[in-house]
Symmetry: C2
Subunit: 209 residues, 2 copies
DNA sequence: CAAATGTTTAATAGAGCTATTAAATTATAT
DNA sequence: ATATAATTTAATAGCTCTATTAAACATTTG
């Protein structure tokens, strides 16, 4: 009964989220949203005017979640560097795990040539530059102390994000392909540990290649 | 003039490839394909009957390219193991570089709930099992010789594929975001070297985590 | 209670899409 | 050169989609 009490605007938005995350802009119609919600199709337009605006509402909220997932790349300075890196990778992974379908959704939308794209590229830019400077300074310090190999912050950031994101982008497929990972949980946990190992090894390994 | 000589069926297929790789199934219409080719819309259906079949023709050929990109994970047994791994990562990367838009295209299609999906999962399965057994045997041998750390073949395969694929899936975006990589070439070359390093470090690093 | 405001629906305009059909055009073969 | 076959087009049926409008219904408020 609690569910039935919710107002239509929110119910429509929720269904739109569900469908847009599963398919994509062009494959979801306001007609379908209305049908699945059980309301008149005009109501969707009453609340959101256009399909574009409805999609935007969904996108903005998902994009916010995703970009906030990048923030743990900062991190509390008390712990030793290596432990913090481990925490950063695990922390970023865990946030994505709460929203496993978001990475593909974002990726897909940003691969098109939407108007949104330009604005979002700017957002990502400033976000990564924020992180970049601090991280590079720390990497240089740790390198001077002989704790890690020399490394560009940008490469480390990309390593972490790309590895973690790719686990989620591929998991519906991968967990089907590899029977080893019968449960979804296994594939994800396995990738999480593997990603941590990869990053740590990369930072520690002193032998030149 | 040479171009004009080509038969319509092929011209239509080429345009369909171009558009389907850029957008997605739902966002491309046979009307649009015909318009851009400059022929009558019925002609698209004359040659391919349905949009679905046309898309399938495109998809099959791209999927073939992609799955063949995974084959260098075998490799010539003359070289020392570590050199071969390096070659495998670089080789896989270079094949994708010739078809940079394919990874995202495949990923996207396989994320939907198409009829194709099931068949493709089977193809991937048998492909990966082929590679799996041989690779695991070699990894165990190299571990016994003390050349590498203990590792599951499946993790190594995923590390390589996910890292390489993610470079291409993200490159239109990433090369815009990071001005450091002003030229696309820089982002890709940079990721290629980074991926090789990651894999090598992962295999060599003996310190437990 | 009645007026005003907010929510929901039915109906529909207008557009684009897929697929088919029959006719026109071009090429091939006898 | 003419019959036959292959290619291309025009026209259109039948959908589905987005967005709007006017009317019905519900809720709030004076």
């Amino acid at each position: 009964m609690a569910t039935e009490e919710k107002n239509m605007e929110e119910i429509i938005l929720q269904k739109a989220e569900e469908l847009f995350l599963e398919k994509d802009f062009a494959s979801v119609s306001t007609t379908q949203i209305a049908r699945e919600v059980g309301c008149n199709q005009a109501l969707v337009h009453y609340y959101f005017r256009t399909k574009e605006k409805l999609f935007s509402a969904v996108f903005e909220s998902k994009f916010k979640i995703f970009s906030e997932s990048l923030l743990p790349i900062f991190g509390k300075k008390e712990l030793p560097f290596m432990d913090r890196i481990k925490e950063v990778v695990a922390g970023h992974f865990d946030i994505l795990k709460v929203h496993p379908t978001i990475p593909r959704f974002i990726l897909n939308e940003l691969s098109g040539n939407s108007q949104r794209r330009k604005m979002l590229v700017e957002k990502f830019k400033s976000l990564s530059q924020q992180l970049y400077t601090d991280l590079q300074k720390e990497l240089d310090e740790e390198y001077a102390k002989g704790n890690i190999v020399e490394m560009r912050a940008i490469d480390l950031m990309l390593d972490i994000v790309l590895l973690n994101v790719s686990a989620f982008v591929t998991f519906p497929l991968a967990s089907e392909i590899f029977h080893h990972y019968s449960a979804v949980e296994n594939y994800l946990e396995s990738r999480k540990q593997e990603n941590i190992k990869l990053i740590i090894c990369r930072l520690k390994n002193r032998e030149s290649i």
